[in-house]
């Protein structure tokens, strides 16, 4: 359940961002985060943690979007680069086993949408 710890930071950052950019009374409507496929995150757990952690805050009832990014690797053997599927960190072209992972470890808050004022 490391999802809870990660979501805690997500909600804190989103609320702070909304207040700083759109004023102290801003309501959060949508939050988008990006998570590389190397992070073993269970989306249902993230959504549940998000619902619990936003209760009673300016983000209560808002939507959490989770964008997954694939694992990208570069082969030191033949120079191939592209998407690989864990758990096999093997070059699909030359079967070299020491590929370098260049993408898939991202974990960040990308965007916060606040409700427009009327």
């Amino acid at each position: 359940m490391h999802e809870f710890a990660i979501t805690e930071r997500l909600v804190e950052t989103a609320l702070r961002t909304a207040a700083e950019s759109a004023g102290p009374d801003a309501r959060v409507r949508r939050v988008r985060m990006v998570a590389g496929a190397l992070h073993a995150l269970v989306e249902d757990n993230m959504q549940m943690a998000y619902a619990v952690l936003t209760r009673g805050t300016a983000a209560e009832g808002s939507r959490l979007e989770i964008v997954r990014r694939p694992v990208i690797a570069a082969c030191g053997g033949c120079g191939w680069s592209g998407e690989i599927t864990p758990p096999f960190f093997v070059c699909p072209r030359c079967e070299h086993v020491g590929v370098e992972v260049t993408g898939g470890k991202e974990l960040f808050l990308e965007e916060v949408e606040t409700a427009d004022e009327h």
Partner: protein, 218 residues
């Protein structure tokens, strides 16, 4: 209103991990983070290391959800061991480790071993400022574990394959296990060992001594 943010969600944890790295550098200390399932033999490995005289001088930060039993087990062998209780959380985070580290007698040590909470998923996600994550896998768990938990085995700089004295009694396929480890992480050395028989610890101690020498180099 759409606000673009690009804020790393591990940022706060990373700050504490960075402080730990500065402290370790200042003291010329190595720190390794042992990660494995409950019951894979992490504490038993530390007990053998405490009895041996060929390894670095070390203290242990014991991560558990509850009880101080593991720290007591190690203290009985004369080791300095602090128990870190997460009170339910499934992993150690950098801030807690940093505070506990500061309370150790760092000038009398070569190495700090963090025994993370028994879990193969969550601890692999968190940088605690260590020089190396070390995956611990016992032969009773099955040869496909590296494929089931690729993040841990991918992050690990070394793998301890424990309880090898039990191999004659198991259908565990050692060659397949080593092949699986290789396909997830070709760079990490695998140390096969038995704590019950105190076998296979020599190469692991050499690796730790090297990690320590590296930590001391400018």
């Amino acid at each position: 209103m759409n606000i673009k943010v690009y804020q790393d969600l591990m940022g706060a944890n990373e700050e504490w991990a960075a402080r730990t790295r500065v402290l370790l550098k200042e003291k010329g200390l190595a720190m390794v983070n042992l990660i494995g399932a409950p019951g894979c033999g992490k504490t038993a490995v530390l007990e053998v290391m405490a009895r041996r005289k060929d390894g670095p001088r070390f203290a242990v930060l014991e991560g558990d959800v509850e009880t101080t039993r593991d720290a007591e087990r190690l203290a009985r062998l004369g080791l300095t061991a602090s128990q870190l209780l997460t009170g339910g959380a499934c992993h150690l985070e950098a801030k807690l480790v940093h505070y506990a580290l500061r309370d150790l007698p760092l000038d009398e040590l070569d190495l700090v071993v963090v025994e993370n909470v028994g879990n193969m998923v969550c601890p692999a996600e968190f940088d605690i400022g260590e020089h190396a994550k070390v995956a611990v896998l016992s032969v009773t768990e099955g040869e496909d574990k590296p494929l089931k938990y690729p993040l841990l085995f991918r992050e690990a700089k070394a793998v301890l394959l424990t309880k090898t004295d039990l191999l004659p009694h198991l259908s565990f396929d050692l060659a397949t296990c080593l092949k699986n480890l290789q396909s997830v992480n070709a760079a990490a050395p695998v140390f096969q060992m038995s704590a019950a028989r105190e076998e296979g610890f020599g190469p692991w101690q050499v690796w730790l001594n090297e990690a320590r020498a590296e930590a001391r180099s400018p």
